[in-house]
Amino acid sequence: MINHIRHNKEEWIDKATQKYQHNSSLDTVIKGGAINRSMEEVIQTEHLTKYYGKVRGIEDFTLTVNKGEIFGFLGPNGSGKTTTIRLCLGLISKTSGDITIFGLDSHKDSVQIRKRVGYVPGDFGLISNIKVKNYLNYLLSLSNCKSDDRMKELAARLDLDLNRKTHELSRGNRQKVGVIQAFMADQDLIILDEPTTGLDPLMQQEFYKILRKEKEKGKTMFMSSHILAEAEAVCDRVAIIKEGRLKIVEEIASLQKKTGKVLDVEFRSPVDVEEFRLPGVSEIKVDNNRLLLTINENLDSVIKAVANHKILNMNLKTYSLEELFLRYYKDTGRGEDNVR
């Protein structure tokens, strides 16, 4: 039965994906980018391509990140997220195309750009055997930032003891150092490569609060992640990449609306499907006492209809983004580990 439901779920996801693609093709997104150019563009790439020798990093990437938004960059390991981020910072050079940050060339004007950028690398090390505060002060001094007030404030928020030695830190605490150093110089653009890796759920929530507060201050954030719930929780827009190519750029709210929620209910006894053909319900599947509904809107009415029956188990998921994501990868599996 479970296999049957899973099969049905995949069918719905395919349909949702097709529907999404029909409504929002990449061309539309790019055109949308052009329309939005009246907004202040912080990151802009045009047909950006990076090859490591013969190995593809990213290919033909055209993307715009606007001032004041939290932009999520989604893809599995090896899809090209880190490559894009490191191109932004001039850590690696492009093979072709263009990439500008604040209107400046990411490689030639890298130093100027980095005066306004904070960055949490996906994988980083610290100088060992010195105090955390000394290491952070060192990075602050390289950023020509004289005040360490922000550093102390962030350390307090993330519950990090600045007097600890760097080599004594756990994975999670090391990640906190990464987060603090990215935000402590009060930069205009923060680039985050899977920033919550290693953070416990409590700290993740605190981190999201920091992101939202920075957004309120007008800061721009470009965040890669493979945690889709995270992107849904904090991002304004997301891009999904597959095999180094950009597949979707869309606002989270719009994406959620298009892909909907899935309600999975198990009743004590069989129910009549017709009861649930309500406005906003796009798909209904029944398997004995189990009901799967795809809901795009009018959630209140659906829940009330479900509540008319004896419920054994119920689960409402906003996991459509993940399912959409999986849809893009299920054709090729994860066979792109050779890509950084």
């Binding site: 880190t82 910072l89 996906g122 994988d123 980083f124 000394n134 001094s141 950084r340």
Partner: protein, 356 residues
């Protein structure tokens, strides 16, 4: 502001620097202490050389004779080189006079007394023109890397310290500088620290220059420690009149740009290979290769061109020690070479991707 990376290098690496500086201090203070006993033993050996006499007639056999030693038998070794490294025994027995046919080539003979299980050198003689076979032994080309190609007298403090300190210390300090300069960069690559450093507005050029400046300062400190130690060590055996502090200091400070070249070469290999093992391997080869090139170049005139390929050729401490001449051209040339190498390192680093 320039200097932040330098300060951090010292802050994180001060233990390593301090330990090495202490070792250099021990070496430089300690080495002169070995001179008086060595000189005394050498005088004894030279006296021993007088105990062997050789007669090389125009025609006829060579006669080699020596003072008898009670209850001893004797071994005579022969070699075409004063180093005696390929010597072969030509006589074993109880006689104190032996004759053998003359050869047209110069030969060296070492006479050993065998007493119970011990072998004692009675003396050395040669059919050649060397006035003092032991002096000739020390001045063999195979030691040119240590003697700077000079004919040294080990009976003088200058000769002893040139051979035993100056000849070794630059290799020791050079390898340390090589290791530190390579790992100063590759440590950031392999320790995954590059991303954080270059998320700040520091240019790659400034980063490399600050690392190079750190290594130059370390080189200067190591030289100053060696100078203080050596001057103190010489003073402690009351030989400052023979080997004055100015000469010691000038000879040592002349090595500063040599170490800067090694540091720049290390940084260059580090940015090219981005791996500690590869960078250190190549830089060590550069230092040790310099020693061997100089030595091979001293073997014969036809091989002298090899010396010009060695960095050692451009720090002539012997010229300062024995002639009182400081070769400013070489000194400046090495400085320029270090800046050229570091410029090349910056150019390459700017073009290369920083790996994850």
């Amino acid at each position: 502001m320039f200097g932040k990376v330098i300060l951090m290098e010292f802050r994180s690496g001060w233990k390593g620097f301090s330990i090495f500086a202490f070792l250099i201090l021990l070496l430089s203070v300690g080495m002169p202490q070995f001179y008086p006993p060595y000189r005394d033993s050498l005088i004894t050996e030279l006296e021993g050389a007088q105990n062997v006499s050789i007669n090389v007639p125009e025609d006829g056999d060579i006669t080699l004779s020596w003072e008898p030693v009670e209850r001893a038998s004797y071994i005579v070794l022969e070699d075409t080189r004063s180093s005696m490294v390929t010597a072969e025994p030509i006589y074993m027995g109880n006689e104190t006079v032996i004759t053998f046919p003359k050869d047209f080539e110069d030969r060296f003979y070492a006479v050993m007394a065998v007493l119970d299980d011990d072998q004692v050198l009675i003396g050395i003689a040669t059919t050649g023109k060397a006035k003092d076979p032991l002096e000739d032994y020390m001045n063999s080309p195979i030691y040119a890397g240590f003697t700077g190609g000079r004919k040294l007298s080990m009976l003088e403090a200058k000769g002893f310290l040139t051979m035993e300190f100056f000849g070794f210390w630059w290799i020791l300090a050079g390898l340390f500088i090589a290791y530190m300069s390579v790992s100063a960069i590759t440590g950031d690559f392999e320790g995954k620290r590059m991303d954080l450093i270059f998320s700040t507005p520091i240019s790659r050029g400034r980063y490399v220059l600050e690392k190079f400046t750190t290594m130059s300062v370390v080189s200067l400190v190591v030289i100053l420690v060696a100078a203080v130690g050596l001057i103190g060590g010489i003073a402690s055996i009351e030989l400052s009149s023979e080997f004055d502090s100015n000469t010691v200091f000038t000879a040592l400070i002349g090595g500063l740009p040599l170490f800067m070249v090694i540091a720049a070469f290390g940084i260059l290999t580090a940015v090219i290979f981005q791996k500690t093992k590869a960078g250190i391997g190549v830089t060590f080869a550069f230092v040790i290769g310099g020693f061997f090139l100089y030595t091979f170049g001293s073997y014969s005139e036809s091989l002298e061109w090899m010396k010009s390929l060695s960095i050692m050729n451009y720090w002539d401490y012997c010229s300062v020690i024995f002639d009182g001449v400081f070769k400013m051209g070489d000194f400046i040339g090495l400085f320029i070479a270090s800046f050229v190498l570091i410029g090349l390192a910056i150019l390459i680093f700017k073009k290369k991707d920083i790996p994850t």
